[in-house]
């Protein structure tokens, strides 16, 4: 290379090519755990039901099959699980009713994720006054109970899907912002951020390509947790009767409508309850797997 003799290289292999394997990422580790896999299977099955169930439904969404609350065999047209409150087919309503909840919950979580991450990263990177202002605003939002806020806003302006997504999403922002800020504060102190600054990288680039990849573990865990909460919250709002279209099928609404007929045909309540419970348990298991993988719990067991 140059005239300066480096350490003599006579017959000595410079370095036995030891390319150490990269430690597997959070997602890989998480999917080695049974809880993540079981959670993922549950979620996948329910998502398939919610999105594609309507194409295999025996009847139309608003098609009457007989008198209300009749068990199987006592309806005019043959049904699997009897009829619901205004004489619709329970199974059909169930197959139709998942989509509104799932779509709204995912949209609300995505909105919260984008805004919360941005707020958290900006606060962590700038510190000082901007950090104080942003985080105090977050604290104020955090102080309002999520379900009450959502109900007030929706009852004032009407239950449109957009508004539901917006209120649930915005009220979730502070929780994500706090977690992201907490994770990013220690990353900001590290030298590679200084290195990027000394090269004159733009602030936006530093947030997105230096900070964001290094808080993704914490973000993944939080995103899952927030999805679980949003599903519960949006089902709850629907249960209380706030849905965009009162005639459309919706798991949360179904529970409310059919609870009057529990004694004669319980299926109208049982199916949506099972579905919502499994969906939250499923996303919860996946989130739990991610958080264990990120924290390094069960690593030895997961490796087997």
């Amino acid at each position: 290379m140059t005239t300066v003799a480096p350490a003599p290289t006579t017959a000595v292999p410079d370095e036995p090519e030891i390319v150490s394997k990269r430690p597997p990422g959070v997602i890989r580790v998480a999917f080695r755990m049974w809880r993540t896999r079981v959670g993922m299977i549950i979620v996948t099955v329910l998502v398939l039901f919610a999105l594609f169930g309507r194409y295999v439904a025996p009847y139309g969404e608003r098609e009457a099959v007989g008198l209300p609350f009749k068990p199987r065999g006592e309806t005019r047209k043959s049904t699997l699980f009897g009829s619901a409150n205004v004489g619709h087919d329970v199974w059909t309503r169930f197959l139709y009713g998942g989509k509104p909840i799932l779509v709204a919950a995912v949209a609300a979580t995505a909105l919260a994720l984008v805004l919360g991450t941005l707020v958290g990263l900006v606060a962590a990177y700038n510190r000082g006054r901007l950090d104080d202002v942003l985080m105090r605003i977050m604290d104020v939002i955090l102080a309002l109970p999520q379900i009450i806020t959502a109900l007030i806003v929706i009852s004032m302006f009407g239950a449109t899907t957009k508004l539901i997504v917006l209120t649930v999403g915005l009220s979730t922002v502070p929780r994500i912002a706090r977690v992201v800020r907490g994770a990013a504060v220690s990353v900001v102190e590290r030298d590679f951020v200084s290195a990027a600054e000394s090269l004159g990288e733009s602030r936006f680039r530093i947030l997105l390509s230096e900070l964001l990849p290094n808080v993704s573990g914490a973000l993944l865990v939080e995103a899952n947790l927030r999805l679980t909460f949003s599903i519960g919250l949006i089902s709850g709002i629907a249960f209380l009767g706030f849905t965009p279209d009162p005639g459309a099928a919706n798991w949360g609404l179904m529970i409310n409508e059919n609870r009057k007929g529990l004694a004669s045909n319980h299926w109208g309540v049982t199916w949506p309850v099972i579905a919502i419970a499994l969906l939250t348990i499923g996303t919860g298991l996946v989130g739990d797997g991610f958080s264990r993988a990120a924290a390094g719990i069960d690593r030895a067991k997961g490796d087997s």
Binding site: M1, T2, T3, V4, A5, P6, A7, P8, T10, A11, V12, P13, D14, E15, P16, I18, V19, S20, K21, R22, P23, R190, D191, F192, S194, A195, A196, E197, S198, L199, G200, E201, S209, E210, P213, N214, S216
Partner: protein
């Protein structure tokens, strides 16, 4: 010290320590004895197993680690066979431990009197409270700390780092143990504090006939302190002997490499060694050093050489002890500066910097020419890092003038032009935090080029060239930082700094996180690059001997003021400022080896 070797305070025989479960050896075939009043230095690179052996003397193994085989005898007690209760009693009375970082080892919520009394009470020392109080007074004076009630009422955070470590020593010596294990106790301390603590350790051990196992990576400290030295490599002790014999006439090739790599003010030369020690589970059947050894033959690969006593008390595990390989002469890393142009590459004029409102740098003037290396030397808190960060545009609170060539630089990197930012580059202290962990080496190194307007393909070509230039291969571009060793990471960081062909390179303590052999090869590399590329280099460090092998000029910073500046040889050998004289006197060196 051979006269005391007849009786033994602690003896370790055939010790093997494994990873629990897998049975992979961390440490194997370790035999050591220490006589009362003797200090044994246990030297090795990080990962060599030296701390593991130190803890084994206390009968302790970290979580996930098993003391698999062998004996540790302290007097009549077999430490590895003791039950939990007996072991707890033995720790403190028979053997005690001084940890690396005193600021985390002391309980911050307890006054130091209480911490000392706790140790004594736990072991029921002296039988009465009065005796224990007297012992606290006594041990405080032994470690040269005041024993006034006012001082004893302090909390750890009210003490300096050196005082904290002395309290750590006092706790270790409180119950008059016969063996003491010290794990790098001076690593975080400034050289002058370190010198005083080392003197105290030596005096205490000799005066009270305590056997000390001093675990460290710092050869210079061992040369100053230890009576005997044992060198560890990849979990085995490969050589032991008296400090003088071992440093003047090393028998094992690895020991010779370690000594050659250690910075020294006299020799001006550091020789590094490529490669790294095999990790547990990857160790070969034969000599674990064979892969990096110039003298290695087929016999070395066949089996690990047995212990050979080449002289009384001198044990080596090498089939060719004392053999020195033929090597090409090293050109000294020094070079004369390229003819100075009218303007200096970098000029600092009357710079004052403050940190959170306090002024930490006072009216400093410096300059560096092309092809020249200026070492900025100072202890922690001297303001050297603040000054270098100001130059790099990472610290904004300063006044005065910093000139790059003839252009005046703005305080913040954001306010400088892209060209200015690329012409002055910064290499950070810690390679474990200066590379973005989620980005490949290639992408990290390419950033300065992309910012400078290069196309992707052109950048990729230059990145490949640069990686080869820092003695890596172009294939490293696809790897992530967590696949690299510390030395390789620092090479990548240097490649990133140099890829845009800067004129000025600021190196902030770039070797302090690295092992000695790696440090030497990084210093070699920097010297080479500086000459070939005509770089002006500002080398910030606290390590004076290191400066001798790299810098043309030295500037000494104390409490934010420039106390001395001049050519390296003049400053190191004929220092003028009192501060520099004391700094040089306190800096331990291998060539100081006495006893």
């Amino acid at each position: 010290m051979t006269d005391v070797a007849t009786n033994v305070a602690v003896s370790i025989s055939d010790l093997r320590i494994e990873v629990a479960g897998s049975g992979v050896d961390i440490v194997d075939e370790v035999n050591l004895t220490i006589a009362p009043g003797e200090v044994l230095g246990l030297v090795g690179e990080s990962g060599s197993g030296k701390t593991t052996v130190g803890l084994a003397v206390l009968g302790h193994a970290r979580r996930g680690v098993k003391l698999a085989y062998g004996d540790v005898m302290i007097g009549e007690s077999a430490m590895l066979a003791l039950g939990e209760g007996a072991l707890r009693h033995a720790r403190g009375t028979l053997v005690s431990y001084v940890p690396q970082d005193p600021s985390t080892a002391l309980n911050p919520a307890l006054r130091i009197n209480k911490q000392l009394m706790e140790v004594l009470e736990f072991h029921d020392f002296g039988g009465s409270n009065a005796a224990r109080k007297a012992r606290v007074q006594e041990v405080m004076s032994e470690v040269l700390l005041p024993s006034t009630p006012e001082f004893l009422r302090r909390y750890p955070h009210q003490l300096s780092g050196g005082q904290q470590q002395r309290v750590g020593l006092a706790m270790a010596f409180a119950c008059r143990p016969s063996v003491i294990v010290l794990d790098e106790p001076t690593t975080g301390l400034d050289v002058s504090t370190q010198a005083h603590v080392l003197t105290t350790v030596r005096q205490l051990c000799h005066a009270h006939n305590v056997a000390a196992l001093y675990v460290t990576h710092d050869l210079a400290v061992v040369a100053n302190l230890a009576d005997r030295v044992a060198v560890m490599y990849a979990g085995r002790i490969i050589e032991q002997g008296t400090a003088k014999e071992l440093f003047f006439n090393p028998a094992h090739p690895y020991t010779r490499h370690l000594i050659a790599a250690a910075p020294d003010m006299e020799t001006h030369e550091m020789v590094g060694l490529r490669g790294r020690a095999p990790a547990p589970g990857r160790r070969p059947k034969g000599c674990s050093f064979a892969l990096r050894c110039e003298l290695a033959t087929a016999d070395c690969m066949a089996e690990f050489p047995a212990e050979r006593e080449v002289a009384p008390g001198r044990v080596v595990r090498c089939i060719k002890p004392f053999e020195v390989p033929q090597r090409t002469d090293h050109v000294a890393v020094h070079s004369s500066p390229i003819a100075a142009s009218a303007t200096h590459a970098l000029m600092v004029r009357d710079v004052c910097a403050s940190y959170t409102g306090h002024q930490v740098v006072h009216n400093v003037d410096l300059y560096v020419d092309r092809g020249e290396c200026l070492a900025l030397v100072g202890e922690s808190g001297s303001g050297k890092t603040t000054l270098s960060r100001s130059i790099g545009g990472l610290h904004r609170e300063w006044t005065g003038e910093i000139l790059l060539g003839s252009e005046r630089l703005a305080p913040s990197a954001r306010d400088r032009t892209t060209a200015q930012r690329l012409r002055i580059q910064y290499v950070f202290q810690n390679p474990y935090s200066s590379l973005q962990p989620r980005r490949t080496v290639g992408d990290s190194v390419a950033r300065p080029l992309i910012i400078g307007g290069a196309s992707k393909t052109e950048a990729a070509r230059k990145v490949g060239e640069m990686l080869e230039r820092v003695a890596l291969t172009a294939g490293y571009a696809n790897r992530f930082p967590d696949q690299l060793s510390g030395g390789e990471r620092q090479r990548v960081a240097i490649a990133r700094a140099l890829v845009s062909r800067p004129e000025v390179l600021v190196c902030d303590e770039v070797t302090s996180a690295l092992d000695v052999l790696v440090q030497a090869s990084i210093v070699e590399l920097l010297g080479e690059l500086r000459r070939d590329l005509g770089l002006a280099m500002l080398f910030v460090t606290h390590n004076l001997p290191l400066v001798a092998s790299i810098a043309d000029q030295i500037a000494v910073l104390a409490d934010g003021k420039l106390v001395e500046a001049g050519p390296t040889d003049r400053v190191l050998h004929f220092p003028e400022a009192e501060y520099t004289k004391r700094l040089i006197a306190d800096t331990p060196q291998i060539s100081d080896v006495t006893s």
